[in-house]
Protein backbone atom coordinates (compact mmCIF):
# COMPACT_ATOMS: atom_id res chain seq x y z
CA UNK A 1 0.00 0.00 0.00
CA UNK A 2 1.57 3.26 -1.02
CA UNK A 3 1.44 6.22 1.31
CA UNK A 4 -0.53 8.86 -0.59
CA UNK A 5 0.40 12.29 0.74
CA UNK A 6 -1.33 14.61 -1.70
CA UNK A 7 -4.69 13.81 -3.12
CA UNK A 8 -6.89 16.17 -5.10
CA UNK A 9 -10.20 14.89 -6.40
CA UNK A 10 -12.31 16.43 -9.13
CA UNK A 11 -11.27 20.00 -8.47
CA UNK A 12 -13.16 22.60 -10.44
CA UNK A 13 -12.43 26.28 -10.21
CA UNK A 14 -13.77 29.06 -12.36
CA UNK A 15 -12.52 32.62 -12.53
CA UNK A 16 -15.02 35.35 -13.30
CA UNK A 17 -17.73 32.82 -14.00
CA UNK A 18 -16.36 31.85 -17.41
CA UNK A 19 -12.72 30.79 -17.37
CA UNK A 20 -12.38 27.22 -16.16
CA UNK A 21 -8.92 27.40 -14.61
CA UNK A 22 -9.28 23.92 -13.17
CA UNK A 23 -11.56 21.59 -15.04
CA UNK A 24 -12.38 18.54 -12.95
CA UNK A 25 -8.76 17.72 -12.25
CA UNK A 26 -7.61 14.87 -10.00
CA UNK A 27 -4.02 14.38 -8.95
CA UNK A 28 -2.47 12.19 -6.31
CA UNK A 29 1.01 11.08 -5.43
CA UNK A 30 2.90 9.31 -2.69
CA UNK A 31 5.23 10.43 0.07
CA UNK A 32 8.88 11.03 -0.69
CA UNK A 33 8.78 11.84 -4.39
CA UNK A 34 9.03 14.92 -6.55
CA UNK A 35 5.88 15.34 -8.53
CA UNK A 36 6.35 17.63 -11.49
CA UNK A 37 3.38 19.52 -12.83
CA UNK A 38 4.19 20.49 -16.38
CA UNK A 39 2.22 22.82 -18.55
CA UNK A 40 2.24 26.05 -20.51
CA UNK A 41 1.35 29.46 -19.08
CA UNK A 42 -2.26 29.62 -18.00
CA UNK A 43 -2.70 25.84 -17.92
CA UNK A 44 -3.87 25.94 -14.29
CA UNK A 45 -0.64 24.97 -12.51
CA UNK A 46 -0.59 27.91 -10.14
CA UNK A 47 -4.32 27.67 -9.48
CA UNK A 48 -3.93 24.03 -8.44
CA UNK A 49 -1.04 24.95 -6.13
CA UNK A 50 -3.15 27.71 -4.60
CA UNK A 51 -5.90 25.23 -3.87
CA UNK A 52 -3.51 22.73 -2.30
CA UNK A 53 -1.83 25.41 -0.17
CA UNK A 54 -5.14 26.75 1.22
CA UNK A 55 -4.87 30.08 -0.64
CA UNK A 56 -7.89 29.37 -2.79
CA UNK A 57 -11.14 27.60 -2.13
CA UNK A 58 -12.17 25.74 -5.27
CA UNK A 59 -15.74 25.82 -6.58
CA UNK A 60 -15.97 22.08 -6.04
CA UNK A 61 -13.89 19.01 -5.39
CA UNK A 62 -11.82 17.93 -2.43
CA UNK A 63 -8.15 17.99 -1.56
CA UNK A 64 -6.08 16.33 1.15
CA UNK A 65 -2.49 17.05 2.05
CA UNK A 66 -0.71 14.90 4.61
CA UNK A 67 -4.05 13.46 5.62
CA UNK A 68 -5.65 16.83 6.27
CA UNK A 69 -8.57 18.22 4.32
CA UNK A 70 -7.18 21.54 3.07
CA UNK A 71 -10.63 22.95 2.41
CA UNK A 72 -12.21 22.03 5.78
CA UNK A 73 -9.10 22.49 7.93
CA UNK A 74 -6.94 25.09 6.20
CA UNK A 75 -5.22 25.96 9.45
CA UNK A 76 -4.22 22.37 10.15
CA UNK A 77 -2.95 21.96 6.60
CA UNK A 78 -0.76 25.06 6.91
CA UNK A 79 1.18 23.32 9.69
CA UNK A 80 2.18 20.63 7.20
CA UNK A 81 3.06 22.60 4.10
CA UNK A 82 5.62 25.04 2.79
CA UNK A 83 5.08 27.28 -0.20
CA UNK A 84 7.48 29.14 -2.43
CA UNK A 85 5.47 31.08 -4.96
CA UNK A 86 6.51 32.58 -8.26
CA UNK A 87 7.87 35.75 -6.70
CA UNK A 88 10.62 35.70 -4.15
CA UNK A 89 8.42 36.79 -1.25
CA UNK A 90 11.23 37.98 0.97
CA UNK A 91 11.79 41.44 2.43
CA UNK A 92 14.62 43.36 0.80
CA UNK A 93 15.23 45.55 3.83
CA UNK A 94 15.68 42.64 6.20
CA UNK A 95 18.75 40.44 6.21
CA UNK A 96 18.45 36.88 5.00
CA UNK A 97 18.64 35.61 8.56
CA UNK A 98 15.99 38.06 9.81
CA UNK A 99 13.62 36.99 7.07
CA UNK A 100 13.95 33.36 8.11
CA UNK A 101 13.66 34.06 11.83
CA UNK A 102 10.48 36.02 11.17
CA UNK A 103 8.95 33.13 9.26
CA UNK A 104 10.05 30.72 12.01
CA UNK A 105 8.36 32.88 14.62
CA UNK A 106 5.18 32.89 12.56
CA UNK A 107 5.34 29.08 12.68
CA UNK A 108 5.08 29.57 16.46
CA UNK A 109 8.69 28.65 17.17
CA UNK A 110 10.31 30.33 20.16
CA UNK A 111 12.91 33.01 19.46
CA UNK A 112 15.69 30.59 20.19
CA UNK A 113 14.24 27.78 18.08
CA UNK A 114 13.61 30.18 15.21
CA UNK A 115 17.24 31.31 15.32
CA UNK A 116 18.55 27.75 15.32
CA UNK A 117 16.24 26.80 12.50
CA UNK A 118 17.36 29.82 10.46
CA UNK A 119 21.03 28.84 10.91
CA UNK A 120 20.21 25.32 9.86
CA UNK A 121 18.36 26.31 6.75
CA UNK A 122 20.91 28.95 5.74
CA UNK A 123 23.61 26.34 5.76
CA UNK A 124 21.49 24.04 3.70
CA UNK A 125 20.96 26.52 0.92
CA UNK A 126 24.53 27.82 1.05
CA UNK A 127 23.64 31.32 2.13
CA UNK A 128 25.48 31.40 5.45
CA UNK A 129 28.02 33.89 4.12
CA UNK A 130 25.37 36.31 2.95
CA UNK A 131 23.03 35.70 5.90
CA UNK A 132 23.60 39.05 7.57
CA UNK A 133 23.38 41.17 4.46
CA UNK A 134 20.16 42.92 3.50
CA UNK A 135 18.32 40.90 0.90
CA UNK A 136 18.16 43.85 -1.51
CA UNK A 137 21.88 43.26 -2.13
CA UNK A 138 21.23 39.65 -3.21
CA UNK A 139 21.20 38.43 -6.79
CA UNK A 140 17.97 37.08 -8.26
CA UNK A 141 19.14 33.51 -7.76
CA UNK A 142 20.04 34.15 -4.11
CA UNK A 143 16.62 35.66 -3.48
CA UNK A 144 14.95 32.57 -4.90
CA UNK A 145 17.13 30.39 -2.71
CA UNK A 146 16.21 32.42 0.35
CA UNK A 147 12.56 32.18 -0.60
CA UNK A 148 12.95 28.42 -0.83
CA UNK A 149 14.68 28.51 2.56
CA UNK A 150 11.72 30.40 4.04
CA UNK A 151 9.40 27.70 2.79
CA UNK A 152 11.31 24.96 4.63
CA UNK A 153 11.82 26.78 7.94
CA UNK A 154 8.70 25.09 9.29
CA UNK A 155 9.98 21.63 8.24
CA UNK A 156 6.96 20.97 6.06
CA UNK A 157 5.96 17.47 5.08
CA UNK A 158 5.00 18.67 1.63
CA UNK A 159 6.73 21.50 -0.13
CA UNK A 160 5.07 23.34 -3.00
CA UNK A 161 7.31 25.17 -5.43
CA UNK A 162 5.66 27.23 -8.12
CA UNK A 163 8.08 27.61 -11.01
CA UNK A 164 11.08 27.74 -8.70
CA UNK A 165 13.62 28.54 -11.40
CA UNK A 166 11.70 30.83 -13.74
CA UNK A 167 13.73 33.89 -14.58
CA UNK A 168 17.02 32.95 -13.00
CA UNK A 169 20.33 32.28 -14.67
CA UNK A 170 21.40 28.74 -15.63
CA UNK A 171 24.03 28.41 -12.93
CA UNK A 172 21.66 29.40 -10.15
CA UNK A 173 19.18 26.97 -11.63
CA UNK A 174 21.63 24.10 -11.26
CA UNK A 175 22.25 25.17 -7.65
CA UNK A 176 18.53 25.15 -6.91
CA UNK A 177 18.12 21.74 -8.50
CA UNK A 178 20.80 20.39 -6.22
CA UNK A 179 19.09 21.81 -3.13
CA UNK A 180 15.75 20.41 -4.24
CA UNK A 181 17.25 16.96 -4.70
CA UNK A 182 18.82 17.12 -1.23
CA UNK A 183 15.50 18.07 0.32
CA UNK A 184 13.85 15.04 -1.17
CA UNK A 185 16.73 12.82 -0.09
CA UNK A 186 15.96 14.03 3.45
CA UNK A 187 12.37 12.89 3.18
CA UNK A 188 10.42 15.97 2.09
CA UNK A 189 7.76 15.42 -0.54
CA UNK A 190 7.71 17.99 -3.27
CA UNK A 191 5.26 19.29 -5.81
CA UNK A 192 6.82 21.59 -8.33
CA UNK A 193 5.38 23.28 -11.34
CA UNK A 194 7.45 24.16 -14.33
CA UNK A 195 7.21 25.21 -17.93
CA UNK A 196 10.62 23.73 -18.54
CA UNK A 197 10.65 20.21 -19.80
CA UNK A 198 14.28 19.83 -18.95
CA UNK A 199 13.52 20.71 -15.36
CA UNK A 200 10.72 18.16 -15.08
CA UNK A 201 12.92 15.59 -16.78
CA UNK A 202 15.81 16.20 -14.40
CA UNK A 203 13.92 16.47 -11.13
CA UNK A 204 10.56 14.82 -11.17
CA UNK A 205 9.93 11.24 -10.16
CA UNK A 206 6.56 11.55 -11.83
CA UNK A 207 5.21 14.11 -14.19
CA UNK A 208 1.67 15.27 -14.70
CA UNK A 209 1.04 17.18 -17.90
CA UNK A 210 -1.63 19.82 -17.45
CA UNK A 211 -3.37 21.88 -20.10
CA UNK A 212 -6.58 23.92 -19.96
CA UNK A 213 -7.10 22.88 -16.34
CA UNK A 214 -7.08 19.18 -17.13
CA UNK A 215 -4.51 16.51 -16.50
CA UNK A 216 -3.85 15.18 -19.98
CA UNK A 217 -1.08 12.68 -19.24
CA UNK A 218 0.87 11.29 -16.34
CA UNK A 219 3.86 9.07 -15.83
CA UNK A 220 7.61 9.00 -15.48
CA UNK A 221 9.59 10.92 -18.05
CA UNK A 222 10.39 7.65 -19.80
CA UNK A 223 6.81 6.50 -19.82
CA UNK A 224 5.73 9.76 -21.35
CA UNK A 225 8.42 9.58 -23.98
CA UNK A 226 7.32 6.07 -24.87
CA UNK A 227 3.85 7.46 -25.54
CA UNK A 228 5.32 9.34 -28.45
CA UNK A 229 6.47 5.96 -29.72
CA UNK A 230 10.13 5.46 -30.39
CA UNK A 231 12.48 7.86 -32.12
CA UNK A 232 11.59 11.02 -33.94
CA UNK A 233 12.97 12.74 -36.98
CA UNK A 234 13.71 16.40 -36.52
CA UNK A 235 14.10 18.63 -39.54
CA UNK A 236 15.56 22.10 -39.22
CA UNK A 237 14.53 24.40 -41.98
CA UNK A 238 14.47 28.15 -42.40
CA UNK A 239 11.10 29.62 -43.26
CA UNK A 240 9.77 26.67 -45.19
CA UNK A 241 8.13 24.87 -42.29
CA UNK A 242 4.79 24.60 -44.04
CA UNK A 243 6.14 23.28 -47.32
CA UNK A 244 8.29 20.72 -45.48
CA UNK A 245 5.23 19.57 -43.56
CA UNK A 246 3.20 19.38 -46.78
CA UNK A 247 5.84 17.32 -48.50
CA UNK A 248 6.02 14.89 -45.59
CA UNK A 249 2.26 14.62 -45.53
CA UNK A 250 2.20 13.85 -49.26
CA UNK A 251 4.86 11.24 -48.71
CA UNK A 252 2.47 9.88 -46.05
CA UNK A 253 5.24 8.99 -43.63
CA UNK A 254 3.48 10.29 -40.54
CA UNK A 255 1.67 13.41 -39.33
CA UNK A 256 4.31 16.15 -38.97
CA UNK A 257 4.34 18.56 -36.04
CA UNK A 258 5.53 22.11 -36.64
CA UNK A 259 7.38 24.04 -33.99
CA UNK A 260 7.52 27.62 -35.22
CA UNK A 261 9.52 28.90 -32.26
CA UNK A 262 12.39 26.51 -32.93
CA UNK A 263 11.80 26.39 -36.69
CA UNK A 264 11.63 22.64 -36.76
CA UNK A 265 9.32 20.01 -38.11
CA UNK A 266 9.25 16.69 -36.29
CA UNK A 267 7.69 13.39 -37.24
CA UNK A 268 7.60 10.08 -35.44
CA UNK A 269 10.02 7.53 -36.88
CA UNK A 270 8.43 4.15 -36.22
CA UNK A 271 10.93 2.37 -38.45
CA UNK A 272 13.91 4.40 -37.20
CA UNK A 273 16.61 4.65 -39.91
CA UNK A 274 14.27 3.42 -42.62
CA UNK A 275 11.84 6.19 -41.78
CA UNK A 276 14.67 8.68 -41.91
CA UNK A 277 15.66 7.54 -45.40
CA UNK A 278 12.06 7.79 -46.55
CA UNK A 279 11.85 11.33 -45.25
CA UNK A 280 15.09 12.32 -46.92
CA UNK A 281 13.86 10.90 -50.22
CA UNK A 282 10.53 12.73 -50.02
CA UNK A 283 12.17 16.02 -49.21
CA UNK A 284 14.80 15.58 -51.89
CA UNK A 285 12.10 14.87 -54.50
CA UNK A 286 10.21 17.99 -53.56
CA UNK A 287 13.35 20.05 -53.87
CA UNK A 288 13.03 21.78 -50.47
CA UNK A 289 16.22 22.94 -48.87
CA UNK A 290 16.68 21.73 -45.29
CA UNK A 291 19.41 22.83 -42.91
CA UNK A 292 19.59 19.67 -40.91
CA UNK A 293 17.76 16.40 -40.56
CA UNK A 294 18.41 13.92 -37.81
CA UNK A 295 17.04 10.96 -35.95
CA UNK A 296 16.87 11.36 -32.17
CA UNK A 297 15.32 10.08 -28.98
CA UNK A 298 12.09 11.90 -28.14
CA UNK A 299 12.26 14.62 -25.52
CA UNK A 300 9.47 15.77 -23.26
CA UNK A 301 9.05 18.54 -25.80
CA UNK A 302 7.84 15.99 -28.27
CA UNK A 303 5.54 14.53 -25.67
CA UNK A 304 4.10 17.88 -25.02
CA UNK A 305 3.67 18.68 -28.67
CA UNK A 306 2.04 15.35 -29.33
CA UNK A 307 -0.34 15.73 -26.40
CA UNK A 308 -1.33 19.36 -26.74
CA UNK A 309 -0.47 20.19 -30.30
CA UNK A 310 1.55 23.18 -29.20
CA UNK A 311 5.04 23.93 -28.05
CA UNK A 312 5.93 24.85 -24.51
CA UNK A 313 7.68 28.09 -23.76
CA UNK A 314 11.13 28.08 -25.21
CA UNK A 315 13.46 26.89 -22.50
CA UNK A 316 16.24 29.34 -21.77
CA UNK A 317 18.72 26.56 -21.22
CA UNK A 318 22.47 26.85 -21.07
CA UNK A 319 24.41 26.36 -24.28
CA UNK A 320 25.61 22.90 -23.39
CA UNK A 321 22.13 21.43 -23.05
CA UNK A 322 21.05 23.07 -26.28
CA UNK A 323 23.94 21.25 -27.89
CA UNK A 324 22.83 18.02 -26.34
CA UNK A 325 19.32 18.45 -27.59
CA UNK A 326 20.22 18.86 -31.25
CA UNK A 327 22.65 16.00 -31.25
Amino acid sequence: MTDIIVQADNIVHTFGGTVRALDDISVSFERGIIYGLLGPNGAGKTTLIRVLTTLLKPDSGSAHVAGIDVIQDAKGAREKIGLAGQNAAVDGYQTGRENLIMVGRLYNLSKRQAKERADDVLERINLTDAADRQVMTYSGGMKRRLDLAASIVGRPEVLFLDEPTTGIDPRSRLGLWEIINELVADGTTLLLTTQYLEEADRLATRIGVIDHGKLIAEGTADELKTQVGGDVIEIHTGDELASVADALRRGSIAEPIINTARKTVTIPAPKAATSLLEAVRVLDDSGIEVHDIALRRPTLDDVFLTLTGKATEETPVPEKSKGRRSR
Binding site: T53, T54, L55, L56, K57, K75, R78, E79, I81, G82, L83, G85, Q86, N87, A88, A89, D91, Y93, Q94, M102, V103, R105, L106, Y107, N108, Q134, A150, G154
Partner: protein, 274 residues
Protein backbone atom coordinates in the same frame (compact mmCIF):
# COMPACT_ATOMS: atom_id res chain seq x y z
CA UNK B 1 -6.46 26.89 17.45
CA UNK B 2 -4.40 30.02 17.63
CA UNK B 3 -4.24 31.17 21.21
CA UNK B 4 -4.60 34.80 22.18
CA UNK B 5 -0.92 35.03 23.07
CA UNK B 6 0.05 33.59 19.71
CA UNK B 7 -2.18 36.07 17.93
CA UNK B 8 -0.68 38.96 19.90
CA UNK B 9 2.80 37.68 19.14
CA UNK B 10 2.03 37.39 15.42
CA UNK B 11 0.64 40.92 15.35
CA UNK B 12 3.79 42.10 17.11
CA UNK B 13 6.04 40.34 14.60
CA UNK B 14 4.22 41.80 11.60
CA UNK B 15 4.10 45.28 13.15
CA UNK B 16 7.82 45.13 13.80
CA UNK B 17 8.47 43.96 10.26
CA UNK B 18 6.51 46.87 8.81
CA UNK B 19 8.17 49.43 11.07
CA UNK B 20 11.59 48.02 10.28
CA UNK B 21 11.08 48.99 6.68
CA UNK B 22 10.97 52.67 7.69
CA UNK B 23 14.14 52.38 9.67
CA UNK B 24 16.05 50.33 7.12
CA UNK B 25 15.06 52.47 4.16
CA UNK B 26 15.97 55.88 5.56
CA UNK B 27 14.87 57.74 2.43
CA UNK B 28 11.35 56.46 3.10
CA UNK B 29 11.24 57.97 6.55
CA UNK B 30 13.02 61.09 5.38
CA UNK B 31 10.49 61.91 2.70
CA UNK B 32 7.49 60.96 4.78
CA UNK B 33 8.85 63.36 7.43
CA UNK B 34 9.99 66.19 5.21
CA UNK B 35 6.63 66.54 3.51
CA UNK B 36 4.59 67.18 6.68
CA UNK B 37 7.20 69.59 8.02
CA UNK B 38 7.16 71.41 4.69
CA UNK B 39 3.37 71.64 4.89
CA UNK B 40 3.67 73.10 8.35
CA UNK B 41 6.21 75.72 7.29
CA UNK B 42 4.42 76.63 4.06
CA UNK B 43 1.05 77.06 5.66
CA UNK B 44 2.46 79.01 8.55
CA UNK B 45 4.59 81.40 6.54
CA UNK B 46 2.77 81.60 3.18
CA UNK B 47 -0.90 81.59 4.22
CA UNK B 48 -0.49 82.33 7.90
CA UNK B 49 -0.45 86.12 7.49
CA UNK B 50 -3.80 86.22 5.67
CA UNK B 51 -5.50 83.53 7.69
CA UNK B 52 -4.47 85.07 11.00
CA UNK B 53 -6.85 88.00 10.27
CA UNK B 54 -9.87 85.72 10.36
CA UNK B 55 -9.09 84.00 13.65
CA UNK B 56 -9.60 85.47 17.09
CA UNK B 57 -6.32 86.95 18.36
CA UNK B 58 -6.55 85.23 21.74
CA UNK B 59 -4.65 82.16 20.49
CA UNK B 60 -1.46 84.06 19.77
CA UNK B 61 0.22 83.46 16.42
CA UNK B 62 -1.35 81.42 13.59
CA UNK B 63 1.02 78.57 14.43
CA UNK B 64 -1.00 77.90 17.60
CA UNK B 65 -4.14 77.56 15.51
CA UNK B 66 -2.41 75.64 12.75
CA UNK B 67 -0.48 73.00 14.67
CA UNK B 68 -3.41 71.10 16.22
CA UNK B 69 -5.10 71.07 12.83
CA UNK B 70 -2.08 69.98 10.92
CA UNK B 71 -1.56 67.09 13.33
CA UNK B 72 -4.97 65.78 12.27
CA UNK B 73 -4.26 66.47 8.60
CA UNK B 74 -1.06 64.52 8.98
CA UNK B 75 -2.54 61.38 10.52
CA UNK B 76 -5.12 61.28 7.74
CA UNK B 77 -2.50 61.63 5.00
CA UNK B 78 -0.33 59.05 6.75
CA UNK B 79 -3.16 56.53 6.62
CA UNK B 80 -2.73 56.23 2.83
CA UNK B 81 0.52 54.38 3.60
CA UNK B 82 -1.67 51.48 4.73
CA UNK B 83 -3.24 51.20 1.29
CA UNK B 84 0.10 51.46 -0.48
CA UNK B 85 1.92 49.06 1.86
CA UNK B 86 -0.73 46.37 1.59
CA UNK B 87 -0.81 46.50 -2.20
CA UNK B 88 2.98 46.26 -2.31
CA UNK B 89 2.88 43.15 -0.14
CA UNK B 90 0.14 41.69 -2.32
CA UNK B 91 2.15 42.21 -5.48
CA UNK B 92 5.36 40.86 -3.99
CA UNK B 93 3.63 37.64 -3.00
CA UNK B 94 4.32 38.32 0.68
CA UNK B 95 0.63 38.06 1.54
CA UNK B 96 0.54 34.61 -0.09
CA UNK B 97 3.50 33.55 2.00
CA UNK B 98 1.86 34.80 5.21
CA UNK B 99 -1.39 33.11 4.27
CA UNK B 100 0.33 29.77 3.78
CA UNK B 101 1.78 29.93 7.32
CA UNK B 102 -0.11 28.68 10.36
CA UNK B 103 -0.36 32.22 11.70
CA UNK B 104 -3.26 34.30 12.96
CA UNK B 105 -5.21 35.63 9.99
CA UNK B 106 -5.84 38.98 11.61
CA UNK B 107 -2.13 39.65 12.08
CA UNK B 108 -1.49 40.91 8.56
CA UNK B 109 -4.04 43.73 8.67
CA UNK B 110 -3.57 44.51 12.36
CA UNK B 111 0.22 44.56 12.02
CA UNK B 112 -0.05 46.87 9.03
CA UNK B 113 -2.39 49.39 10.67
CA UNK B 114 -0.44 49.40 13.94
CA UNK B 115 2.85 49.99 12.16
CA UNK B 116 1.42 52.86 10.16
CA UNK B 117 0.13 54.53 13.31
CA UNK B 118 3.53 54.01 14.90
CA UNK B 119 5.15 55.82 12.06
CA UNK B 120 2.59 58.64 12.26
CA UNK B 121 3.40 59.00 15.96
CA UNK B 122 7.04 59.59 15.10
CA UNK B 123 6.22 62.14 12.41
CA UNK B 124 3.81 64.01 14.67
CA UNK B 125 6.32 64.24 17.49
CA UNK B 126 8.83 65.70 15.09
CA UNK B 127 6.31 68.14 13.68
CA UNK B 128 5.32 69.30 17.13
CA UNK B 129 8.96 69.89 17.94
CA UNK B 130 9.45 71.92 14.76
CA UNK B 131 6.26 73.80 15.60
CA UNK B 132 7.66 74.62 19.02
CA UNK B 133 10.78 76.04 17.40
CA UNK B 134 8.72 78.43 15.25
CA UNK B 135 6.53 79.65 18.08
CA UNK B 136 3.90 77.04 18.90
CA UNK B 137 2.98 76.97 22.61
CA UNK B 138 0.35 74.61 24.09
CA UNK B 139 -1.81 76.89 26.24
CA UNK B 140 -3.55 74.16 28.19
CA UNK B 141 -0.74 72.10 29.64
CA UNK B 142 1.34 69.16 28.53
CA UNK B 143 -1.16 66.48 29.45
CA UNK B 144 -3.85 67.94 27.19
CA UNK B 145 -1.36 68.14 24.35
CA UNK B 146 -0.54 64.45 24.76
CA UNK B 147 -4.23 63.56 24.90
CA UNK B 148 -4.83 65.54 21.70
CA UNK B 149 -2.02 63.67 19.94
CA UNK B 150 -3.30 60.30 21.16
CA UNK B 151 -6.81 61.09 19.92
CA UNK B 152 -5.43 62.17 16.55
CA UNK B 153 -3.47 58.91 16.31
CA UNK B 154 -6.63 57.00 17.16
CA UNK B 155 -8.32 58.79 14.29
CA UNK B 156 -5.38 57.96 12.03
CA UNK B 157 -5.77 54.33 13.07
CA UNK B 158 -9.42 54.32 12.09
CA UNK B 159 -8.55 55.90 8.73
CA UNK B 160 -5.91 53.17 8.23
CA UNK B 161 -8.72 50.62 8.17
CA UNK B 162 -10.53 52.65 5.53
CA UNK B 163 -7.31 52.76 3.53
CA UNK B 164 -6.72 49.03 4.02
CA UNK B 165 -10.07 48.47 2.37
CA UNK B 166 -9.22 50.90 -0.46
CA UNK B 167 -5.87 49.19 -1.05
CA UNK B 168 -7.36 45.72 -1.17
CA UNK B 169 -9.96 46.91 -3.63
CA UNK B 170 -7.60 48.60 -6.09
CA UNK B 171 -4.74 46.10 -5.67
CA UNK B 172 -1.84 48.09 -7.16
CA UNK B 173 0.35 50.58 -5.27
CA UNK B 174 -0.05 53.29 -7.91
CA UNK B 175 -3.83 53.09 -7.87
CA UNK B 176 -3.81 52.86 -4.07
CA UNK B 177 -1.88 56.11 -3.86
CA UNK B 178 -4.34 58.07 -5.98
CA UNK B 179 -7.50 56.33 -4.79
CA UNK B 180 -6.43 56.86 -1.18
CA UNK B 181 -6.08 60.60 -1.59
CA UNK B 182 -9.35 61.01 -3.44
CA UNK B 183 -11.64 61.06 -0.37
CA UNK B 184 -8.95 62.63 1.77
CA UNK B 185 -8.50 65.94 -0.02
CA UNK B 186 -12.07 67.23 0.36
CA UNK B 187 -12.21 65.95 3.94
CA UNK B 188 -8.98 67.67 4.96
CA UNK B 189 -9.39 70.94 3.08
CA UNK B 190 -13.13 71.42 3.63
CA UNK B 191 -12.55 71.35 7.36
CA UNK B 192 -11.28 73.53 10.18
CA UNK B 193 -7.77 72.11 9.81
CA UNK B 194 -6.25 75.23 8.21
CA UNK B 195 -8.96 77.91 8.44
CA UNK B 196 -12.05 78.63 10.54
CA UNK B 197 -15.19 77.20 8.91
CA UNK B 198 -16.98 80.55 9.45
CA UNK B 199 -15.26 81.99 6.37
CA UNK B 200 -16.71 79.29 4.08
CA UNK B 201 -20.00 79.63 2.16
CA UNK B 202 -22.78 78.37 4.38
CA UNK B 203 -23.49 75.17 2.42
CA UNK B 204 -19.85 74.20 2.66
CA UNK B 205 -19.53 75.28 6.26
CA UNK B 206 -22.41 73.04 7.29
CA UNK B 207 -20.66 70.08 5.67
CA UNK B 208 -17.28 71.04 7.10
CA UNK B 209 -18.53 71.54 10.65
CA UNK B 210 -20.07 68.10 10.82
CA UNK B 211 -17.48 65.90 9.23
CA UNK B 212 -14.98 63.90 11.31
CA UNK B 213 -11.78 65.71 10.31
CA UNK B 214 -13.21 68.99 11.66
CA UNK B 215 -14.45 67.26 14.79
CA UNK B 216 -10.96 65.92 15.44
CA UNK B 217 -9.25 69.20 14.58
CA UNK B 218 -11.62 71.11 16.88
CA UNK B 219 -11.08 68.62 19.66
CA UNK B 220 -7.30 68.78 19.32
CA UNK B 221 -7.50 72.56 19.31
CA UNK B 222 -9.80 72.72 22.32
CA UNK B 223 -7.48 70.39 24.22
CA UNK B 224 -4.33 72.28 23.27
CA UNK B 225 -5.65 75.86 23.43
CA UNK B 226 -8.25 75.44 26.18
CA UNK B 227 -11.89 76.51 26.56
CA UNK B 228 -11.12 79.83 24.93
CA UNK B 229 -11.05 78.10 21.56
CA UNK B 230 -14.61 76.88 21.96
CA UNK B 231 -15.73 80.33 23.05
CA UNK B 232 -14.05 81.90 20.01
CA UNK B 233 -15.66 79.53 17.47
CA UNK B 234 -19.29 80.66 17.04
CA UNK B 235 -20.68 77.32 15.88
CA UNK B 236 -19.00 75.46 18.74
CA UNK B 237 -20.07 78.01 21.33
CA UNK B 238 -23.63 77.95 19.99
CA UNK B 239 -23.83 74.17 20.20
CA UNK B 240 -22.81 74.23 23.84
CA UNK B 241 -19.77 72.03 23.24
CA UNK B 242 -17.23 71.44 25.99
CA UNK B 243 -13.79 69.87 25.82
CA UNK B 244 -15.30 66.72 27.30
CA UNK B 245 -18.14 66.53 24.79
CA UNK B 246 -15.74 67.07 21.90
CA UNK B 247 -13.47 64.27 23.14
CA UNK B 248 -16.48 61.95 23.36
CA UNK B 249 -17.65 62.91 19.88
CA UNK B 250 -14.15 62.23 18.52
CA UNK B 251 -14.08 58.83 20.19
CA UNK B 252 -17.46 58.04 18.70
CA UNK B 253 -16.17 58.85 15.20
CA UNK B 254 -13.05 56.74 15.73
CA UNK B 255 -14.97 53.73 16.98
CA UNK B 256 -17.66 54.18 14.35
CA UNK B 257 -15.19 54.31 11.47
CA UNK B 258 -13.29 51.23 12.69
CA UNK B 259 -16.57 49.39 13.22
CA UNK B 260 -17.63 50.05 9.64
CA UNK B 261 -14.31 49.92 7.78
CA UNK B 262 -12.66 46.94 9.50
CA UNK B 263 -15.28 44.35 8.48
CA UNK B 264 -15.13 45.64 4.90
CA UNK B 265 -11.35 45.46 4.91
CA UNK B 266 -11.33 41.95 6.39
CA UNK B 267 -13.88 40.77 3.86
CA UNK B 268 -11.87 42.26 1.00
CA UNK B 269 -8.72 40.69 2.39
CA UNK B 270 -10.30 37.26 2.34
CA UNK B 271 -11.66 37.75 -1.15
CA UNK B 272 -8.51 39.31 -2.55
CA UNK B 273 -6.19 36.57 -1.46
CA UNK B 274 -8.57 33.93 -2.66
Amino acid sequence: MTTLTQTASHIGIITRRNLLRNIRLPQLLLFSTVQPVMFLLLFNYVFGGSIARSIPPIFGDYINYLLPGIIVQNVVFAATATAVGLTEDLQAGVIDRFRSLPMARSAVLAGRTFADVGRAAFVISLMTAVGYLIGFRPLNGFFSLVLAVVLALGFGYSMSWVMAWVGLKVKTPEAAQSAGFLPIFPLVFASSVFVPTSTMPSWLASFAENQPVTVLANTARALILGDAYIAGEPHLAASGATIGSLVLLSLAWIIGIVAVAAPFAVRSYRKTVE
